[in-house]
Amino acid sequence: MALTSPPTSSLANPLASPLASPLAFWLLAALGALLLPWHAQQDGLTLAGLAAPLAEDADADASAALGQALRHGRFWFWPVLLALLPALAGALPWLPRPSRARLLLAGGGLGLLAIAAQGLAIGVQGWNWPWLATLFGEMDDRQFGLGLGGTLATLGFLVLLTDALALRGLFRGDRFIAGSVGLLALLILVFTAWPIGRLLSEMLAPRDALGPWAALAERLLDRKLFSLACVTQPVGCGVVWNTLLLAACSATAATLLGLAFALIASRTALPGKRALRLLTVLPIITPPFVIGLGLILLFGRAGLVNQAADALFGWQLGRWIYGFDGVFLAQVFAFTPTAFLVLIGVVEGVSPAMEEASQVLRASRMRTFTAVSLPLMLPGIANAWLVGFIESLTDFGNPIVLGGSFGVLSTEIFFAVVGAQQEFGRAAVLAALMLVVALGAFAIQRRVVARRSYVSLTGKGDTGLPATLPPAVRRAAYAVALPWAGLTLVVYAMALAGAFVKVWGRDWTPTLDHFRRAFALEWAPDGGLLFTGGAWHSLGTTLLLAGIAAPITAALGMLAAWLITRQQFRGRTALEFALMLTFAVPGTVMGVAYILTFNVPPLELTGTAVVLVACFVFRNLPVGVRSGVAAMSQLDRSLDEAAVTLRASTFRALRTVVLPLLKPAIVTALVYAFVRAMTTVSAVIFLVSAEYEMATVFIINRVINGDYGLAIAYSAVLILLMLAAIGLIQLAVGRRHLGRRATPPAVGRA
């Protein structure tokens, strides 16, 4: 066989991208530190702004770090600049490997530390900590947030640091893995750990004459939080108990209903049960207030049911819908589909072979169900309950629309910030309580899922037919589920019909006026098109930001899933936990944390689109990671190992082998991230600005003002757009093609 000389190292691979050398990242760091404006510029990214540092007389705040240090006496940039020197020596390929590793480690580490230190030390009013002022003297200077230069320099130093670790043989000596882990760790640190820590520290903010600990104690021991008065008297209980009670009730009801639907779908011959599956998609793409509005239009004091009852029987049904009952009902509508999706897998996962074994052992159908099927499903049912519990806990849309004077933690946090008191400290305490509860539920849920080892997924689908339900159970399931399915349809029909009449409950004239108000177009005198409808601005922003956030979420999610399942490195478990953490962080908490953290340097992001995109990405990342991990664990690990031994760089292996096989998971992550970005309200309500307004915030403002018609019209348009987007995503990603057989064989096995 002809011999081609083997490549001495991938660094010398002529076809490898230029990123294959640490030098490229040194240049990036140098570009950021020496040439580009270090700080964020007032008018965003402009060509003139980028060129500004090159001018002789550049303004200090428009200059690069080098210019600021040289010409404006900002000595705190010298460590950043000095870090470039050892890093350059290490980035060049001339020195032996161990020396390069040492130099890169020193350069990258010093660079990152220096950037973080100067960013945190100098804020809007000079030194952030008094001891610095005594050390360096008072500063009459200030600094803005990191801009393009600072960001690029940070990224460059980060990769130089991870390169050093890879050169030392960590991460199997793979630069791509080291860099990916470093990037993910930095992102999670900045966009999850830091904001949440910052929010929690607010609990200790002194109030009036109280010191930090006394203030914390006063906030924690507030009667409004933990009062149990409602047990003995007809008054409201503390908001913590309200929240827990509501979450427990909603989770229980949703789980029972979900189980009934799952049993019907998998173990009865009910005609049309496929349509049930369609019902499960609806709530996922429904903006959060539609169900609440439907319920008001149906059960409100002026709703159809009440009017009918009054007209026919003279009954006054009252205003029960506002408060616990209404929120409970709306949450059950919203969360039953999720419970169904969790439970259908569980119910179908119980191996028919065991039920057949039970029947062969002379057990009746009822006994088979109670003694075999149900116990096998129990861990799955517990999981569905906990998912429902967390969903209810973090729900904001339903309590705000239907809560009346009934408050839960998520709305209390909101009102603590925007209400008449405007107290972040109280919001922080509430957020901490919510976080504790959510994390507790999340931890239990993970343990439950980890232990459900006896759901017997054998991979062989043909081990028998699932047992049909005992007649009593079947009747019970029908009795619970079918009316509910009917009610769901009615509520949706109600809600959407509200968009097409003038004033629901008073003026039933059919009209398209609400759509016209939202999406009107006008010709300007100069011939240009004016988007005069009130909804255009927020719709455009929402689509743009969701469109940006979804691919980032999916890409980061897949990368993280791949690192977690395929790579061994120290801190892997910690990384996994941190990635999953935001699942348990309620949106309101995240929003408050972001606004607190990112309104001051070094990362001044509030009011920009970046903060919204970051919020979407990091809140939805856990789902991306999960679907990635699930898909990855079905992929034979030797596939990517094979690619690597075939000289593919780790990145090429990921791109050409792993990603094409992960298409279904990528679609899931993209769709979820996109839809959630379109429908989320609790997190963004604090983050929107005049420039970047989101559709859900626009809608909730209409709801609060009682303008239901426009709110529903807008929601209907959003639902249609999301359906279209889901179709587009599926089209764009495409299917994976594994053979002419109908069912692809176990991937990678013979």
Binding site: P6, R172, L646, A648, T650, T656, V657, L738, R749
Partner: protein, 354 residues
């Protein structure tokens, strides 16, 4: 392409408290096929993955053709691997699978296709290039996996239990093909298996691994005839280990007392006293007179030969007798002696201390 020696020096790997590979040395001479043989969990696959660069050793060095590759990543080593599951990329055609490594290395696509087709021909799969892996039989998939590894002309080719997914017959054919290919192309191969017959059929050298270390290495014949330990003896074919007493040693020959028999065997370092004696089943011969008594517990007719389980004074013994001899029914008494060519003496407990 032949010639690159693979040399492991003091290579060790731990997972937490568990030693996956105890520090060991190993040399695979250029152009030779060396097999790592051992039960599951003995560290043989880990060792292979260390060579491939899929795992990082905790200590020691790996030298490929004299070059230290210990800290290089998998893609930077001139090593190819055939996986137990084949790991064919299910979404790529056979031709793209085989050409994958070439394209990764920067070979032009057309050239890669040409060379991939040529390699497919080498493994007897010309004309199958357009298919997807799922459309091939198990044996064909195996060949594609070999072709994909071969096309890179690696200095060392690694096989990780490549035949374990095939049925018995195909396994025999394929192992002959692999051996033929290896000898024809002069490949340096490190081959992992737990199948002793496969190891003996394909190897120049066999390394028996046990408890994360090397128990013994040598040619198949050396291992079979001169095992260092009861473990190696038992793993290389069937063996009956018994306790025997060395009466005396003179000139490298030991007089071994086993019941009423006195055998003369190479001493292999044993002194007088208790020792282990390993008797191959085919070395147990029925004798008409004299010998040792035993009762037939079970007798099985195997076509070409008969297998007996004998109850003797030293415990149960497995004996294999060519099939044309008359079958002794269970319960009957027989007398036997031992062919010293099929008996190996070793110091007591050797190879068990690990």
């Amino acid at each position: 392409m032949s010639g690159a020696d693979l040399r492991l020096e003091g290579i060790g790997k731990r997972y937490g408290q568990v030693a996956a590979v105890r520090p060991l040395d190993l040399v695979v001479p250029g152009g030779a096929l060396v097999t790592l043989l051992g039960p599951s969990g003995c560290g043989k696959t880990t060792l292979l993955r260390l060579v491939a660069g899929l795992e990082q050793p905790d200590q020691g060095r790996i030298l490929l053709g004299g070059r230290d590759v210990t800290t290089l990543s998998a893609g930077e080593r001139d090593v190819s691997m055939v996986f137990q599951s084949y790991a064919l990329f299910p979404h790529l055609t056979v031709l793209d699978n085989v050409g994958y490594g070439l394209v990764s290395r920067g070979v032009k696509r057309a050239e890669a296709r040409r060379r991939a087709e040529a390699t497919l021909e080498t493994v007897g799969l010309a004309g199958y290039g357009a298919r997807l892996p799922a459309e091939l039989s198990g044996g064909q998939q195996q060949r594609v996996a070999v072709a994909r590894a071969l096309v890179l002309e690696p200095e060392v080719l690694l096989f990780d239990e490549p035949l374990s997914n095939l049925d018995t017959r195909l396994r025999r054919t394929m192992r002959e093909e692999i051996r033929a290919l290896q000898q024809r192309l002069g490949l340096t191969v490190l081959y992992v298996t737990h199948d002793q017959a496969e190891a003996m059929a394909v190897s120049d050298l066999v390394v028996v691994m046990h408890n994360a270390g090397i128990a013994q290495s040598g040619t198949p014949r050396q291992l079979y005839e001169q095992p260092d330990s009861v473990f190696v003896a038992s793993f290389m074919g069937d063996a009956n280990p018994v306790r025997a007493e060395v009466a005396s040693v003179a000139g490298g020959q030991a007089q071994v007392r086993l019941g009423g028999l006195m055998l003369t065997l190479p001493a292999r370092g044993c002194g007088p006293g208790q020792a282990d004696l390993v008797i191959r089943p085919e070395a147990i011969r029925r004798v008409a007179t004299g010998g040792l008594p035993a009762r037939v517990r079970r007798a099985s007719y195997m076509g070409s030969h008969a297998e007996y389980v004998l109850e003797s004074d030293f415990g149960p013994l497995l004996a294999v007798v060519p099939g044309y001899a008359a079958l002794h029914p269970a319960g009957s008494m027989v007398a036997f002696d031992i062919d010293t060519a099929g008996a190996v003496l070793m110091a007591q407990g050797k190879g068990e201390e690990r």
